[in-house]
């Protein structure tokens, strides 16, 4: 009788703790070893291109197809450069240099990948329509109320995720450093004009 109870305890603890820890490890991103470049996190380049089994499992679960080595790289930011999570009630400036690429796109979404809805249909910028500063750097403002210049209205998004995709075959082999990607700076929180 005792043996049966002990086997049941072992099986129960093994199943619950084993599967629970699997779910928790994937949900929390505890074993996320993707390279960080400033506030940007390098998105895995397609299924099978990462050596991290947790990343492979998470990509399979999410049905995610990153950019392959010949396609380019994608970097994702959910925090500003100070490490504070991006708040949909705040305005942020995405400003700084950007590596040369065949094409780059900056998309604003929420955590579920939904694009902001606005009459202008503005969901981000690309290298073709963003107005550069005089020194060639990029300056985009993201927030709820309109700002002059390159501005992406976030509307009613409940969270903010910035995804910068750089297309070109050599980028995956030579990752840009943090000084070659734009920084994300908090401008103001709330509905005021801010700084």
């Amino acid at each position: 009788m005792f043996l049966v109870v002990r086997l049941l305890i072992i099986a129960l603890v093994g199943a619950v703790a084993g599967l629970g820890s699997t779910w928790w490890a994937l949900e929390s991103g505890l074993f996320d070893t993707a390279p960080r470049i400033g506030p940007w996190r390098l998105q895995a380049g397609g299924p099978g291109t990462s050596a991290n089994p947790y990343q492979i499992a998470e990509d399979a679960r999410a049905g995610r197809i990153g950019l392959g080595p010949a396609e380019g790289i994608a970097v994702v930011a959910t925090t500003d450069s100070a490490g504070t999570p991006l708040d949909p009630l705040c305005h942020y400036a995405v400003a700084g240099p950007i590596p040369s690429a065949e094409l780059w796109t900056l998309a604003v979404t929420d955590e579920a990948g939904r694009l902001p809805s606005n009459p202008a249909g503005r969901t981000g910028f690309t290298s073709r329509d963003a107005v550069r500063e005089a020194d060639g750097t990029l300056a985009v403002v993201v927030g709820r109320t309109v700002r002059p210049g390159n501005f992406v209205p976030t509307g009613r998004l409940g969270s903010i995720v910035l995804t910068l995709r750089l297309y070109g075959s050599g980028l995956a082999a030579r990752l840009p450093g943090p000084d070659r990607l734009p920084a994300i700076r908090l401008l103001h929180c709330g509905g005021g004009r801010g700084r």
Binding site: F2, R6, I9, I10, A11, L12, V13, G14, A15, V16, A17, G18, L19, S21, T22, A25, Q43, G45, G46, P47, G48, T49, P53, Y54, I56, A57, D59, A60, R61, A62, G63, R64, I65, L67, G68, P69, A70, E71, G72, A74, E102, L103, T105, A107, T109, A112, G113, R114, L115, G121, T123, G124, T126, R128, D129, T163, R165, Y167, G168, S169
Partner: protein, 212 residues
């Protein structure tokens, strides 16, 4: 009694560790909703299907691109060929296999004239295609493991006005599935080897060197 319980809990945690590792390693092949399953839900093998960028099929697609998928299933040695002309925009192609992950990727410089011919198959099927000489000279071949997968074509469509033209170009791509190639052209016979003069064999017994 308490000692038995503690030992059972420790054994349970050890089993949990094994379950954890097995689950993590099994998820990529057993996930019912991985990228290949999502594409196969909207595209039949051998047919080009447009994939919306809103995340309803595949997660994290670029909203400034239009996407098309050519699904394949290499079981049984079939080959699938994606062919057609792509617009003069930035475009990339990724070949994704459920068993092998992203097995190949290309960018527009790989086809300077904008015409793509990409054959995907298992290693022996691709080799048979090469031997049969049916591939275009500037085409690509990709070897992938057996099982389902898809070719994902991404074309930049940042301008709203350009989208109908790009969408039409993607729909005009062909995604043809072919049975295991069998009509392999026989190899040409090798030319006869030139007959060589046999080297004269040394006479026996060998001459004994004279003593010093």
């Amino acid at each position: 009694m308490t000692g038995h319980l503690v030992r059972s809990l420790i054994a349970g945690l050890l089993v949990a560790g094994i379950v954890h590792v097995l689950a993590i390693l099994t998820i990529p092949s057993a996930a019912p909703n991985d990228a290949t399953a999502r594409v196969l839900a909207v595209a039949r093998p051998g047919v080009v299907a447009l994939i919306p960028s809103d995340g309803s099929v595949l997660a994290d697609l670029d909203p400034y691109f239009l996407h098309a998928a050519c699904a394949f299933d290499l079981t049984g040695g079939t080959t699938t060929t994606l062919a057609g002309a792509l617009p003069d925009e930035v475009w990339t192609i990724a070949v994704v296999s459920r068993a092998g992950g992203m097995v190949a990727s290309f960018e527009q410089d790989a086809a300077p004239n904008g015409t793509v011919s990409l054959a995907v198959g298992m290693a022996d099927a691709v080799e048979r295609l090469r031997l049969a000489g049916t591939l275009p000279a500037d085409g690509f071949t990709v070897e992938a493991p057996a099982g389902p997968g898809f070719v994902l074509v991404r074309v930049a469509a940042a301008d709203i006005e350009s989208r109908p033209r790009i969408r039409a170009a993607l729909q005009a791509l062909t995604c043809a599935q072919a049975a295991r190639p069998s009509g392999v052209r026989p190899l040409a016979p090798l030319p006869p080897l030139p007959e060589e003069e046999p080297e004269p064999r040394p006479a026996f017994p060998l001459p004994v060197p004279a003593p010093r």
